[in-house]
Symmetry: C2
């Protein structure tokens, strides 16, 4: 038993401090998870593609300690928490699958800490592009060679801990060196292997099929 709802772009579907009543699954569109400092600076901590669970945390941890915002218009499947807990009792496999999902999320966060903490501007952005490309394809959203980048440069900046100005320059730099082609908003990966090399990207941390 679940309901389907839609939301427009740039809308918070999970709010900090809120106690969830539903388990939300992203069915179509893209979203991002972010936190804010006391000073109001915003850091995107993950991107989400169709198939991702948006608030697994609330199942066991009370209220949300962050926000989840839509990037595009989305459709979301919502299962009442009580209902979901009942299913988990009945089918331990479901609980185990969710737990596995949580472990993968944690693995991705670790990679992001590394990305934001230790890689330089170009590498950092390339890595982010690689991850999104990979997950996008993995979610069955079309081939990795050419696709429309759903997020603004400002959002990429918030995700990489850089300024929007630099994202712009780095994207042009990558285009000038022939790794990507960027007639916005279309992004074309021209040299996937080179992009992976620049971004120091190895997909093993995503724990998906090779």
């Amino acid at each position: 038993m679940f309901t389907v709802k839609t939301a427009s772009a740039n809308h918070d579907v999970v709010k900090q401090g809120e106690v969830a009543t539903n388990l939300q699954v992203l069915l179509d569109g893209y979203a991002c998870r972010y936190k804010i400092t006391a000073g109001g600076a915003r850091q995107i901590v993950s991107f989400h593609v169709p198939g991702d669970i948006l608030d697994a945390q609330q199942l066991l941890l009370g209220c949300a300690d962050h926000f989840v915002q839509t990037i595009t218009s989305v459709t979301i499947g919502a299962v009442p928490l009580a209902e979901f807990r009942r299913i988990m009792k009945l089918r331990p496999n479901v609980a185990e699958a969710l737990w596995r999902d949580t472990l993968i999320d944690a693995s991705i966060y670790r990679e992001w800490v590394l990305n934001v903490g230790k890689r330089d501007m170009t590498s950092r952005i390339a890595h982010m592009l690689c991850e999104f490309t990979f997950r996008r394809e993995n979610a069955g959203r079309g081939p990795p060679e050419q696709w429309e980048l759903p997020m603004t440069q400002h959002k990429i900046a918030d995700a990489t801990g850089l300024s929007a100005v630099h994202i712009n320059r780095a994207l042009h730099e990558l285009a000038r060196s022939g790794v990507i082609a960027s007639d916005r908003p279309e992004v074309e990966i021209i040299d996937w292997l080179q992009l992976r090399r620049i971004g120091d990207f190895g997909p093993s941390y995503l724990h998906r099929a090779p």
Copy 2:
């Protein structure tokens, strides 16, 4: 049924690429979890205090995608994985508790992405000190006012994405402004509230008792 072992400081107890045969629990001492870039740069993604599970990930996700290294000499409890899986089948509560633990880990990683991505030098270091102080006390390792800092400045640098030189300067800066006293290796928190304010630290993301 579990065995207890010891390890000296700066020893890898979980290695990247290794498939675990045991579930390891830190019983005494401190440890850190880290990843490395292709260029050899190292980023610590979490610190660990007694009571923490060091390789919950391997339960469901095959081989480790990172390292766990001891900071001090430690004692570790090890439960064979097969044994542990049997316990989980028998007692769903244990599995749920572990899952909950994984969710908290993920929450901490999110905070670290924010910390490394968006906070300035001083705030970043103060936040790290706050978190460690809080978790240390929460693990029953003595009062938060005064304690020995187990990690070197180099490790703090690796954890915050800064250089060791800057950690040194920032620590002195914090000492000069009277927030901490640092006659190394003893650290004394003089003004806990001020340190929290500087570090923009709110413990809710740790999901512990207030």
